[in-house]
């Protein structure tokens, strides 16, 4: 668990075991995306890295209301420098609010068959990929 970092926010960041395993564990242990995700998590949980949060769009082709994201590597924004993203959903646990981790993946996959991080987040939240019944 970690503080939410920059922005004067009061909700902590939580990485659930199952979501982390499904999103990051699907990559080979020595692969770049897995290493990038693990490093980003370490920095987030360390609480010393300023976090450049961006809200996810609540509408459009992949609506993700209640979500915000971080680009990975942390601190970078351009897709060429930060090809991955972490998506978090605001949830309530009793009397506290948390940003719970929901998806990790490529922002703009070069392989057209690969689902991007927003599609993965949508599927976790809605139970199906966007555009499907």
């Amino acid at each position: 668990m970690a503080g939410a970092g920059a922005g004067g926010l009061s909700a902590k960041v939580v990485f659930g075991l199952r979501a982390w395993d499904e999103e990051v564990g699907r990559f080979h242990p020595l692969s770049p995306p897995r290493a990038r995700a693990q490093n980003a998590r370490k920095l987030i949980e360390g609480g010393k890295q300023p976090l450049k949060w961006v809200n996810c769009k609540p509408d459009g082709p992949i609506p993700l209301p209640g979500c915000r994201k971080l680009y990975v590597p942390l601190g970078k924004s351009a897709p060429s420098e930060a090809p991955y993203g972490l998506v978090f959903l605001l949830v309530r646990r009793r009397d506290t609010l948390e940003w719970t981790f929901v998806a990790f993946g490529e922002r703009h996959p070069s392989n057209s068959k690969t689902r991007n991080v927003y599609e993965r987040a949508y599927k976790r939240i809605n139970g199906r990929y966007p555009g499907l019944r």
């Binding site: 659930g16 499904e22 949060w53 961006v54 769009k57 949830v91 922002r107 993965r120």
Partner: protein, 70 residues
């Protein structure tokens, strides 16, 4: 010997060599297998959480910028 055909539908979970895969549609309308993504409803039950409200999101994240991505 007759070949036994197993019928699968979108959303079915199958086990292959001890690993679980979900039947999911591709963008092209085909079907493929991929590691399952546990839905948030199930994670809420596991983690003891519930969805936050739109007002709570606005209070915590109203000042955070958007971009043109997702």
């Amino acid at each position: 010997m007759a070949i036994s055909i197993r019928k699968l539908s979108v959303g079915d979970i199958v086990e292959v060599d001890g690993r679980h895969y979900e039947v999911v549609p591709t963008r092209d309308g085909e079907l493929t297998l991929e590691p399952p993504i546990t839905p948030m409803d199930e994670l809420h039950a596991i983690e003891g959480t519930e969805p936050a409200s739109a007002e709570e999101f606005e209070r915590l994240s109203g000042h955070v910028p958007y971009d043109d991505e997702g």
